[in-house]
Amino acid sequence: MNEFIEFSKNQFFLTAGFNLIFVEFNAGISLITAIMYSMRKTIWQRCAKFWLKTILASYSITVITTLLLVFQLATNWSKLGGICGNIFGPFLILIALIMFFCEFLMFLIKLRAEKTKTLWILTILMHLHLWIIIAIQTTMHQPNSSIEFDYMNNCAHIVSFFDISFNFNTAIQFTKSLWKSYSIASIFCIGICARYILQNKHIAFSISSIKTAVLIGGSACISLTPLIYKASSFQMPNIKNIQTINVIHIKNGMLGLQAMRNLKKEYTLAEKEIFLMHKHDIAYANLIPELQPTERLIGTSFETVLPSISEINQEQITQIANEIIPNFKLAFYSNLITIFINILLTIIFFMFAYKLFRKKITSANFTLKCAIVVMPLPFLSAISQYANIEATRGPWLINNMLPIYLAASNLTAISAMISLISMCIFLFICILLFAFRIINIAQDGPENHPISTHNEPKPILKNKLSKILNKKHLAKKINMKSSYKAQVPSRMDFKKLKKKTNKWKRKNK
């Protein structure tokens, strides 16, 4: 059972982390694109159209990973629906609806010429998506008073939807993620543009993109500094103290659990008082798997057997108290990585800002090469931040309320292991495909991309015709009948056109 939970936990955190990175990337890149598109000059709009293609590519991955997460609720965490489906469900539905409308807006962007408003709405929706994910994550980590657990019926209830969505912790985490998303997107933009400049291609486009990216990314990195300063003051807590507190919690929880069982049999005021006193510690008693009810075949039918609380000895309690101490070392090192990467990125943004100010960006080979090298670092920073959150989670799904193992399915460890390996392979393929798609987009360059041709259709046939015949309305007529197959005009087409123009000339005469 323990192995199954470990595999399932890793699988879920892998997929969720992967999903979060892409959601952050989408939020950042969509803001950059929207700002660029809002500028009136054509060069900015050309930049925006180019970056829009990367949003289309990354959003497909976001949807696929969200599907994987949703399905995992059914496969590895099947008990979660019964226990706290009513808490996280509405937020997850909201995420799915936001995804639908984002996809719909992208469809509209492909279809219509007017994009500025649509792009801003898309940006807002993507930020909202990020907010909800962070709100769920923070609630699981620090539920405070927004959730109440009904130990009698083994299910959680929401006290206030507002408290879950808008609270101080969520706001801080969201700000962190937002700045991180801006730095990811900015470094991505700068990296691709740096490559163009080094190849001496699309210089005007690259400088315009770098300007916006440095402005957004630089300000994001500087804003992160106070938060990072706070994080750097992180000290390793005294583990012995935590262990002692855990032992007290578990013992109190066992008293509460016993009182709850007695209350189910017979209602007495004394038992009720004990239950109310130790109600919040019952979750700690639930951490002991040996105390969970089991099904045994008695005669011809299954019956529920409640293990006796007195059977649990001091050794077992100490062992559980040790096991539930969060991985502070991992949290510390992941914090360190985040701080280091952020300082590095700030330096790079400053270097770019300086070179842009001195108008020497095209000759700054070292800075440009640095930008290409550090491209994967913001992604690593996002992963380490996520690892930090997961490391401090400990054995809890909802902190101090619901242990992880109570929400897991009753499957074998082998099936979870196979599923985890398949997931790793699948996500690796996802990264590969995304990388190749980005390489393709970069190779295509800002010109000749399909979005511009959709909105301003200029088939070769029409241009050549208008040159040859200089008759606009006839060119329009022919363009109406042109298929994509006929975009490259053949000799036969020109013969037909000549015949038609002759006819038209005769009619006019």
């Binding site: 496969t75 609806l97 499957l411 699948f426 495909l433």
Partner: protein
């Protein structure tokens, strides 16, 4: 005013409705993925049809997410029980859906080398991708029919004193005649719908023949399946709707199949498309009618089944989640608009003549 006691029963409607939209979209999508393989390599319409699948694939996936999440939120205990029973095949479904969508969305990614070197539909990578798309499509249909068939048949489980689900279900039980019948129907539904669409788009004679054959097959299977469906209706003693209502809805299926045949022969394109989608819709309505108010029926003891009244999350969530009905309605309207944009009547009428369509534009 909404009666709070009847709220769980009312929530069955949006749940059934979202699942219907999902399955309608998925069968269309899957049908097109199966049918476009029959087209000639050099046929320019092949790319058009593929672009159509590419456009709708993500929307279908998102609708599937919405319907699963509504089930998860509103009927949490039932979701928990059902997913516990079908865990292994749901994992398979998850990977099949994800791989298929990835293959569709990243179909035109060219790996190493110059863009000019890559042949669009002929390289071995593309063949492999085509093979993945077709195979995963069939796997998805198989899994859906196995789940639906098993639910219709009833699952051997009971609830203990602490309302925990004790199951005697084995995964081999998914292979039952009802699942097989549903699989046959689903595959023919999707092929019929897609072939009608492809015929309208391409005006290929081959597509017309496929559409006609599949519709005739559909008519035959529906006519033969009257008796098994009758048996199923008889088995569900607690069905909310009277059996005559279900029977009368079922009779519309062969009639619609006949109308579809007539529409294809007489070149009534719009009617053909509406009827082909309508048949699937009617089939799903029959499924909903037979099952209501059951969510997971027990074959051991029907009174132990998970019904919408005894397996909803809590009233507060049910009331709060009503907010989502309006955006869901808007989303459904948007979906209709997207489909209309991709296959509007103008495009249908002119596609054969001008060989130009909105899909090419996209």
């Amino acid at each position: 005013m909404i009666d709070i006691v009847n709220l769980p029963k009312l929530w069955i409607l949006p749940l059934a409705w979202t699942w219907n939209i999902t399955l309608l979209g998925l069968t269309f999508d899957i049908g097109c993925a199966l049918i476009y393989r029959f087209m000639n390599k050099n046929n320019p319409y092949k790319t058009q049809i593929f672009n159509f699948i590419k456009q709708i694939a993500l929307f279908n996936l998102i609708w599937l997410c919405i319907s699963i999440l509504i089930f998860f939120t509103i009927f949490g205990p039932a979701f928990s029980g059902l997913s516990m029973l079908f865990s292994p095949i749901i994992t398979l479904l998850m990977f099949a859906l994800a791989i298929r969508t990835l293959a569709i969305k990243f179909y035109d990614v060219h790996f190493f080398g110059n863009k000019s070197n890559y042949a669009y539909l002929n390289s071995s990578t593309k063949k492999f991708t085509n093979w993945i798309i077709t195979d995963t499509s069939i796997v998805i249909l198989c899994i859906f029919s196995a789940i639906f068939g098993t639910i219709l048949n009833g699952i051997p489980f009971y609830l203990n004193n602490s309302k925990q689900l004790i199951s005697l279900f084995r995964i081999e039980d998914c292979l039952n005649p009802t699942s097989l019948l549903i699989f046959l129907l689903l595959i023919i539904f999707s092929i019929t719908q897609a072939s009608v669409f492809c015929y309208i788009k391409t005006q290929l004679h081959k597509m017309k023949i496929i559409a006609l054959i599949s519709t005739i097959l559909l008519f035959t299977i529906i006519s033969c399946s009257i008796f098994p469906i009758e048996n199923l209706i008889e088995e569900f003693h607690y069905t909310y709707f009277s059996k005559n209502i279900i029977r009368s809805v079922f009779i519309t299926l062969p009639i619609s199949a006949l109308i579809l045949i007539a529409a294809i022969i007489n070149k009534r394109y719009t009617l053909a498309l509406i009827t082909s989608s309508g048949i699937i819709k009617i089939f799903m309505i029959i499924f909903d009618l037979i099952l209501f108010p059951f969510i997971v029926p027990s074959s051991i003891d029907t009174s132990q089944s998970l019904i919408c009244i005894n397996s909803f999350s809590n009233i507060q969530t049910l009331v709060v989640s009503l907010i989502f009905v309006i955006p869901m309605l808007i989303a459904a309207l948007c979906t209709v608009w997207i489909y209309n944009k991709l296959i509007n009547s103008k495009t249908l009428a002119t596609s054969a003549k001008t060989k130009n369509s909105v899909i090419t534009k996209l």
